[in-house]
Symmetry: C2
Subunit: 152 residues, 2 copies
DNA sequence: CTTCTTGCAAATGGTTTGCATCGAC
DNA sequence: GTCGATGCAAACCATTTGCAAGAAG
């Protein structure tokens, strides 16, 4: 629970530098996010905290996610959906998304050659990249089969 | 204004098939979108229509964008921003985005080799793709230079 | 004339914020 | 003690929707 991971150190350092405090709520949210989740939205997080008897208000959840996002530990994306989705980041880790329009599940993929080509694009456009996100919408195997069947 | 482009034909056909009507508002919005814009948001469009003395209510703008999106003539994306951005599509055209976090401009790029790799990823995951979107955030040349200067 | 459309204003729903109280340090 | 943090409820804001009045076919 209180093991000193690289990420925890980063967060503590980030707070200190900004003159912010390490509160019970921030620590509890950090633990929850880094112990179980990959992808989640604000409501998921509120619900999980409630289950774990570590109730935190929605406002604080948003405020904390903003901090974690600001220090790069949490990524915030809109998967063409009406709400933000968050995902915890680990150093040096990067992945992109396959989003099933049938069952709304999100799958991750990694393709280093795409990343290389991105670098090339940025050079070509004299663009200095800081982050990127790549989504592919479509049907996962199960939903594709189902649709096939429905169509006769 | 009333030239019979491929896109216009597609839209008319789409409406007919659904038993919908070709109204003054829909035609005016179609014209505005296809004559000038590439990227825009709902408010831009409302403002432009007002300027052109072809006032259309915000509700109708959203409803019409939904139709154009449904028939594939307009793409709707969230550039990790609180609102939707739209862009008109031309047959066989595809591009991705470089988004400057300094000046908020959006640049387009095309990289067919990335598209090929995507195909490979989808095959690997037995995923049937229907569309995709790829964003790279960072600083454009001008903003990077400015930041450099500011940093001393 | 029937059905689909429009505009308005109200509703929605995720996210943000003002303020009084509480807790870190 | 001093500031920053929290929780609550209200505010925000882009988008959607119900409804009565208006046009397309």
């Amino acid at each position: 629970m209180t093991e000193m991971t690289e990420e925890r150190r980063l967060f503590a350092e980030f707070l200190r530098r900004r003159g912010l405090k390490t509160t019970r709520e921030r620590t509890a949210l950090f633990d929850e996010i880094f112990s179980t989740h990959r992808h989640f939205d604000a409501d998921d997080l509120v619900a999980r905290m409630r289950e774990r008897d570590r109730k935190v208000s929605r406002a604080t959840v948003y405020r904390t996610l903003e901090l974690l996002h600001a220090c790069g530990l949490v990524n915030r994306v809109r998967l063409s959906d009406e709400k933000y989705r968050y995902e915890r980041m680990r150093v040096g880790e990067h992945h992109d998304h396959l989003i099933c329009t049938g069952c709304h599940r999100v799958f991750e993929f990694v393709e280093p050659r795409i990343e290389e080509l991105q670098e090339a694009v940025c050079t070509r456009y004299r663009f200095r990249p800081s982050s990127h996100s790549h989504q592919i919408w479509g049907l996962c195997e199960g939903c594709a089969a189902e649709k096939e069947k429905a169509a006769g």
